[in-house]
Symmetry: C2
Subunit: 691 residues, 2 copies
């Protein structure tokens, strides 16, 4: 549910608890920051004994201050914070920013934080923090916190970038980069421990903020994960890119990973899947984050991945071409017609292919602008990169290049900007980068934003699966197979047998050749113990296999029990599975199967449930996707049937999440088109709640 | 052969041809550059009519100038250059730098360049260029060329970085980066079209230059490729890293390079193999090149991949940890003993794990230095990263951190350097980067340098293969198989048959089941035409297969001819092959086979020949290498036998390079250990010289 943060971020009156005549106190600093940013509302220092702080009348408690306070900034020792929040509640204050640290982020601080949350809930006060640096509303001149006004340093320009960060230090460093490069900022929020309000809440607020054009977020986890996808889609509809860095790849440890799917689906891939579902762009580096934000603040998003490069350096153009193509974009040559048009502006010893090379001798801003306009008008490209070194080029020249096209345009300079130009770099009409790899990464990421925005709405949710599962379904193969069949996921014909005679009869009924597999409760990796016998082509072979399996069972001290199945026809082998993520809940996975599954990590993941259209997109994303098309005279595979299985399993994962933690369908044989898929084996892991 | 470039790079006298009273002429600029750099030797302007240029006595020709000139800088129109070189020869001048463009790099200029080369050879003059910007010998104050003295801009500091670049523009931009960051430079050479002296020659000279510590090279192709490996190994023995960017890897990049310099872009993986053999580090970005050079100029190379991170920001430390581990380095936790030692310097609410977190409140230079020293003394790490924001930290503090360890140490700042510190960034005792990904890349690349330096000498070359091949060996399967057998590469038992009866007899002799394959001259992809029949288990099946193959042969208008072989036992399927690279000659490859070979690019390449030890290393580099170890109850594979095949094939590729352009052993079945490999099929492509 959307929270109205207006009184928090645009407060008409603010009290600062902890401001005092001690100039180095955190609260004094917070008050000074608000004043130095020319806060225009009412300001009330709160101090038990001082009558005045920094020339302002002080009050002993929030309860004693004038009524109608919108926001209280709290900077007192940790044990005293809850009392201040009670005061806020009594005075009808809706929001508090808690700068104080020493809560959940330190060992032994969890209880204090739980207590704080309880008091805040009871008092009807919404919290930022604790352990927050506060926030900066640059658009309206509210610097409520510590360090957010960058005291003693330059202030950021006012502009369209909203910064939301769980880490205060990393958030400030992003603000610092914006400031040093002249990139305009709308707001910065340090969400701290997120005992109440979360990063997702502030991202949502930024979507509604008319001053914000691009949102960058730094996260170490996601709280309020259930709203992430909804908020992300809202940002996409509003045309506001959300760029997110998520740190801590090994965070969701502690969960016993028993099955194959579990080990392949690292928690980090789940974040990838979640950000993707939300239409947010994940970045792995602060420079990439910043480059992409700078690019997208110009409001131009590529409609595809066709890139034209205009250069005056052959070497630089080639380097750009290499890295841009390596990043998955396409530098198609100009058409005959376009080349003829370009020749008017390009010297004979230049090139009208792509890169279009005006050469060092042909360089003039007019020629560049004409080439950019001609490329743009051709409709053959989705984005343009101009190599114009930041050497003698003026801001006006750069603006004239930007005005020559409405396409997304990126500047590349192999020369570093002059010291004079550097503070203006983020404000140039053409966003600039100074390395080919950064150019490639920013274009590829921006194209992903466009792709996410153009993606159709996901469509109807799949038909639900009855929530019939119990942990007992994981106990035996037969119970597992029956549960899966009830969800529309029938395994290949199978019989459970408990004697040699039963095994032979089953084989005869099912038809040779058959497979015979040990079936012991809780045993997932049957082949590891020598419990799998394949391609048994007659009764003698079945009898011998039974004896072998029985011996293994004796060795393990389990009953003589096995599953007999007809051998599967050949096809493309895949694995389909699902797991329960601690943060995002059920997740479905499809991946390459067979021997290569162990050596080549080739998986696609989605938050469950997904419909068949989404499942098909997921299948097509695998590296092995070309195998489904049928190479070298082999028939095309039934990917539609595979998509149905993936979608059904995703629905089952949701329906059964209270009982079942993991499901592995392995292997799944994808047969030729029209013949469906064969689910050869399956395993469940019951949910054990030890969180 | 090493060329003595002393008189070129440290000339006692220089003539400039093309210097005139026209201040904008290229030659005038070159003369002015030399003078502005305070060249201390003799300087002679050469002009047909002027008696004096820039206050120096001018001469009508090099022939008329005083004797003993070491170097002539040539800046006259292209058609006049050859005449000047003749003059140089007549005057006994050993070296000329040709700044003039309009030779091989422009269409129609190849003839002019060939003529120039011929004249230079005849005259005994060695050339830099044409189309060169000249060179800067910063150590000795010789700026011979155009732009190399960075006229009107700051000069670089004098230091240990040598820059060699085929592209003048890219080379100057590297020089610009060094200058703006205070990184010291020893020399810069723009090699231009390399009609004579090449990038490899100048890299070699830099190895011998006592002022040079690190060499960076920008290449669009490699000329003098036969000496690359030898020169690279010499650099490694001298302890001087060579960092190389080779552009033109992709189709678009290659297109740009060709339209730029007319150079031929070889297969990109072959360049990787060549640089690897030479112990050079390839980079794909100018920032990576620069970061790595800055790091290595401190003279510290990691002895392994164990990294310790010391931080005062939890978020920044986590981000570093994520990216460094993602780049393949290891952040192992500190041992119990080390943790106990670290506790003396780390606050209780910090962390003595790795990252070691001193927290924002615990920050002091002394604590950082103590932690760095303790980590260093422990012997548990090969490199240290310190997160100390470039905010208020002084150069002296940074120097004291560097002095606390002899390990390679890298600084990371999530804050950008202040404008005051930026020009000194490259000169800090601890090299700094400002993004986690850059930190990870520079550490990984530096570790690769150490690895290359520690690699044992390659050992003896493999036993040579007799050079018995003729193009006819590629004509038929039988001829191919026989040639391969002569090189110690016998195929699985095979018989060539020309009738149904012969096929049946062959199958009976070889033992069922067999394979029967159409054998037509020049037909490589037999299965594409339906010419392959596998698993024939009796005479009827062989007869039917023969009829089918005969029908295909009739359809293709080729004789009835087939190969019969016993079916291969199962094992790991690979492809082994070799090709003739235009630049580097014979190259050997091993890669994943089977259906995945088509969708997953998993190959290792080396310049041929290689011995069995090298071949084994190559096999172990494949992504599928874990399959050779025998997972899930399967036996370990005979990788030694595979290595023998790869080594033998590499020797054959060298011996047969005049006749054979490509050899494909596909598939090669690697059997369980001790059972060798099975070469199932092979194809040769005869060499056709159309270069």
């Amino acid at each position: 549910m959307t929270i109205d943060l207006d009184r928090l971020l645009r407060p008409r009156s603010i009290a600062v608890v902890g401001a005092s005549q001690n100039p180095t106190a955190l609260g004094t600093n917070a008050l000074a920051t608000l004043m130095s940013y020319d806060y225009t509302g009412d300001l009330y220092p709160i101090h038990p004994t001082h009558a005045e702080v920094k020339g302002l009348r002080a009050y002993p408690s929030v309860r004693d201050a004038p009524a109608g306070i919108d926001l209280v900034v709290v900077a007192v020792a940790a044990p005293r914070v809850a009392g201040v929040i009670e005061d806020c509640g009594a005075a009808g204050v809706p929001f508090a920013v808690v700068l104080t640290s020493g809560f959940g982020e330190v060992s032994g601080g969890a209880a204090l934080q739980a207590d704080l949350v309880e008091v805040a809930r009871r008092s009807g006060v919404r919290l930022v923090g604790p352990n927050s640096l506060g926030f900066l509303n640059q658009s309206d001149g509210v610097a409520a916190g510590f360090g957010v006004g960058m005291p003693g340093r330059s202030r950021p320009q006012t502009g369209g970038l909203a910064i939301v960060s769980q880490s205060g230090g990393m958030g400030l460093s992003i603000l610092n980069r914006a400031t040093l490069s002249g990139l305009g900022v709308s707001s910065f929020v340090s969400t701290g421990n997120e005992a109440d309000l979360t990063l997702v809440d502030f991202v949502e607020d930024a979507i509604d903020d008319p001053n914000t054009k691009v949102i960058v977020a730094y996260a170490e986890t996601i709280r309020g994960a259930d709203r992430l996808v909804e908020v992300g889609r809202r940002a996409a509809r509003a045309g506001k890119p959300v760029i997110i860095a998520k740190i801590g790849a090994t965070e969701a440890g502690g969960r016993a990973v028993q099955s194959h799917t579990g080990s392949m689906a690292g928690a980090d891939l789940v974040f990838d899947a979640a950000f993707r579902a939300a239409g947010m762009v994940r970045v792995h580096d602060i420079e990439d984050m910043f480059d992409l934000a700078t690019f997208l603040l110009r409001g131009r998003v590529p409609a595809g991945n066709r890139v034209a490069v205009v250069t005056q350096s052959g070497g630089g153009g080639a380097w750009l071409a290499d890295t841009i193509e390596r990043a998955g974009m396409v530098l198609a040559p100009a058409s005959e017609e376009l080349r003829a048009q370009l020749k008017a502006f390009v010297p004979d010893f230049g090139s009208v292919l792509n890169p279009v090379d005006l050469t060092a001798s042909g360089i003039s801003v007019e020629a560049f602008a004409s080439v950019v306009k001609t490329l743009s008008d051709s409709g053959e490209y989705d984005a343009i990169v101009v190599l114009m070194p930041l050497l003698d080029v003026s801001e006006e020249s750069i603006a004239s290049i930007a005005a020559a096209t409405t396409l997304p345009i990126l500047g590349f300079s192999h020369w570093l900007p002059t010291p004079a130009l550097r503070p203006r770099l983020g404000a140039l009409e053409v966003p600039y980068v100074t390395s080919p790899a950064r150019a490639a990464r920013v274009l590829a990421a921006a194209a992903r934003v466009g792709e996410a925005w153009r993606a159709p709405e996901p469509g109807p949710r799949p038909e639900p699966v009855p929530a019939t599962a119990t942990p007992a379904a994981a106990a035996s193969d037969a119970a597992t197979f029956e549960l899966l069949a009830s969800a529309g996921l029938p395994l290949a014909p199978w019989r459970q047998v408990t004697s040699s005679a039963e095994a032979v009869t089953a084989a005869q009924d099912l038809g040779f050749p058959v497979a015979l597999k040990l079936s012991a409760d809780g045993l997932i990796h049957k082949s590891d113990v020598g419990g799998v016998h394949l391609g048994l082509s007659d009764t003698d072979a079945v009898g011998a296999a039974w004896e072998a399996v029985a011996a293994v069972a004796d060795g393990m001290g389990v009953p003589h029990r096995a599953i007999v199945q007809p051998m599967a026809p050949s096809g493309v082998e895949v694995i389909v599975g699902c797991t329960l993520d601690l943060i995002f809940g059920p997740v479905v996975m499809v991946g390459a199967g067979g021997i290569y599954a162990e050596v080549v990590r080739d998986v696609a993941l989605r938050l469950a449930p997904i419909n068949e259209t989404e499942a098909l997109a997921m299948v097509r994303e695998l590296n092995i996707a070309p195998l489904f098309a049928g190479a070298r005279g082999k028939p095309a595979a039934d990917v539609e049937a595979l998509a149905t299985v993936v979608s059904r399993l995703s629905a089952a994962a949701v329906a059964w999440q209270d009982s079942i933690a993991e499901i592995d369908l392995n292997p799944v044989i994808v047969l030729p088109h029209g013949q469906g898929v064969r689910l050869v084996d399956a395993a469940l892991v019951a949910r054990v709640d030890n969180r």
